[in-house]
């Protein structure tokens, strides 16, 4: 089924797409979203809005998506299964669709242990694969999980994440195949620093022809500093930052490191563009949205096409 999603249209047309990410604020100030949105507007085709990422309470993904939508942008609503049961999930999907959100990214979410409410309960009534299945059921069969008919089907372009760097490595291709079986249409990957490992994963994907069944967008995140690179390497589970990258940042003067981070990011994109089966780039410039335009420009991704 075709949706109103601009992202889906571009991918179907065979365009190499660019997406980015916008983390909602820890408060009710809509201007923060608008400012981030303005920085990303002409640099990318669609913008992910995170859902209480790292289990820290923030403005809801759904409302931040609407703010971006009001600016004429194309939001991708991230939804984690940590905080809502199947009733709340389906209800939010209907609400988001009614307000014109056409893309969703299905995630299980970080465990609340990492966040600012670690003593809370988690839900995990369903997992990310089952969330994909739920969206497909609601959209294509017009049914709720409980079996009843939906009046007004939510037409969303269905996405999910993949982390080729998590363990066990050998399960990562079958896991993607499973998401495809569930109905996923596009994938955004974890930040790629170890290109060799990513290429190996892509080989496995192509070996099974999975790249023809799903649009894969390769994720990148520029380093702002050595501190950030070390943090990503040591503290973020499932993140693979090769030592050479950190060495390379160290080799330049302190005030030039952010610039070097951008350079590494652009070079990574150049390499990713050449990999068969990569259909776009997902630039996650964490609290550094002002650099996305520059990265996209330097990597030859601008201007973005109009649909």
């Amino acid at each position: 089924m075709k949706t109103e999603s601009k992202l889906e249209k571009l991918l179907e047309k065979g365009e190499f797409v660019v997406t980015s990410e916008c983390g909602p604020p820890r408060g009710a100030d809509a201007d923060i979203i608008r400012k981030k949105g303005a920085l990303l507007k002409d640099a990318v085709d669609a913008v992910n809005v995170t859902d209480n990422q790292t289990s820290v309470v923030r403005m809801s993904s759904i409302s931040a998506c609407i703010i971006l939508k009001q600016m004429g942008m194309e939001p991708i609503m991230q939804m984690v299964t940590r905080d809502r049961n199947r009733i709340a999930i389906q209800s939010d999907i209907l609400g988001a669709a009614a307000l014109g959100v056409n893309n969703i990214l299905c995630l299980s979410g970080d465990h609340q242990k990492f966040g600012d409410h670690s003593s809370g309960k988690n839900v995990y009534d369903i997992d990310s694969v089952q969330l994909i299945q739920t969206l497909k059921l609601m959209r294509d069969q017009g049914r709720f999980i409980g079996g009843d008919e939906i009046q007004g089907k939510p037409a969303m372009f269905i996405g999910a994440a993949a982390n080729p760097f998590a363990d066990p490595f050998e399960i990562r291709v079958p896991r993607l195949a499973k998401k495809i079986n569930a109905g996923v249409q596009f994938i955004q990957t974890q930040c790629i620093y170890n290109l060799d490992r990513f290429e190996k994963w892509m080989e496995g994907i192509r070996g099974r022809g999975l790249h023809e069944k799903v649009h894969i967008l390769a994720g990148v995140t520029p380093f702002k500093s050595i501190g950030m690179a070390n943090y990503m390497k040591k503290m973020v589970p499932g993140m693979d930052v090769p030592d050479e990258m950190i060495e390379r940042l160290k080799s330049v003067d302190k005030e030039k490191r952010a610039e070097e981070g951008i350079k590494i990011c652009v070079e990574t994109i150049e390499r990713l563009k050449k990999i068969e089966g990569v259909r776009g780039i997902h630039i996650m410039a964490i609290e550094w949205e002002e650099k996305v335009h520059e990265i996209a420009e330097k990597a030859g991704l601008l201007p973005r096409p109009v649909v």
Partner: protein
């Protein structure tokens, strides 16, 4: 079995502060095996309480007993002869035992001396870990005998999240990633093919989510 762990002594002393004559009751079931509430623990706890109270110049009289099980009326009944002579019962049974005692002896205050933690196993002497969440609809035949509901921190039924690293769970490097173990088992048993079939959304109504559970068996009823 059910695994429990003694509450901090100060918490216990605070609970029984106003009483001068109590029963300290252990259980010979699970909590004996996991060394949280058997006869030995009853003895140790009782002497600790006596000493502490003597030090505070508020001595306490304690009757020590360890029932065969506290989750069975037959054994709880044994307390009937003497329970009225005491002001309170400090029970070292699991939560089920403490509650069953409370249901049976309605007029006496009851205090839990242990925390009931989980259904689990003795990994090694002194180390216990969780294995079952009693969801009421076992799926172990599909996951190589390893329970993802219990052992995956997010209860993911369809494979590992993106945080699994070097065989460990993203929430703690001391906790094994359930899906790493499941993957290894499925490979060993040549069942990986089945992994790609989506595990359907679970019916949690057989779990606690369906309300407090009870089982009735006609073949066993008297």
């Amino acid at each position: 079995m059910i695994i429990g762990e003694g509450k901090p002594i100060n918490e216990i002393l605070e609970m029984i502060l106003k009483h001068k004559k109590i029963i300290v009751a252990g259980c010979r079931g699970c909590v004996t095996v996991c060394s949280a509430g058997g006869q030995k623990e009853v003895e140790i706890l009782s002497s600790t309480i006596r000493l502490a109270r003597e030090k505070d110049k508020a001595p306490i009289e304690i009757f020590e007993t360890t029932l065969e099980r506290q989750c069975d009326t037959e054994y709880l009944e044994q307390m009937r002869n003497y329970i009225d002579e005491y002001e309170a019962v400090l029970s070292l049974a699991c939560g089920a035992g403490v509650q069953f005692l409370a249901e049976m002896y309605k007029k006496i205050p009851l205090y839990p001396a242990i925390n009931t933690n989980f259904i689990g196993v003795t990994e090694k002497q002194g180390i216990w870990s969780e294995r079952c969440q009693s969801c009421g609809n076992c799926m172990l035949e599909r996951t190589g005998g390893i329970c993802p509901i219990t052992r995956c921190s997010k209860s993911l039924l369809n494979g590992p999240c993106g945080g699994s690293s070097d065989g460990k769970c993203e929430i703690d490097s001391e906790i094994d990633c359930a899906w790493q173990i499941i993957y290894e088992r499925l490979m060993e048993l040549d069942l990986m093919e089945r992994f790609e079939e989506v595990e359907d959304i679970k019916d949690w109504s057989t779990s606690r989510d369906g309300g407090p559970r009870r089982i009735e068996r006609e073949d066993l009823k008297l």
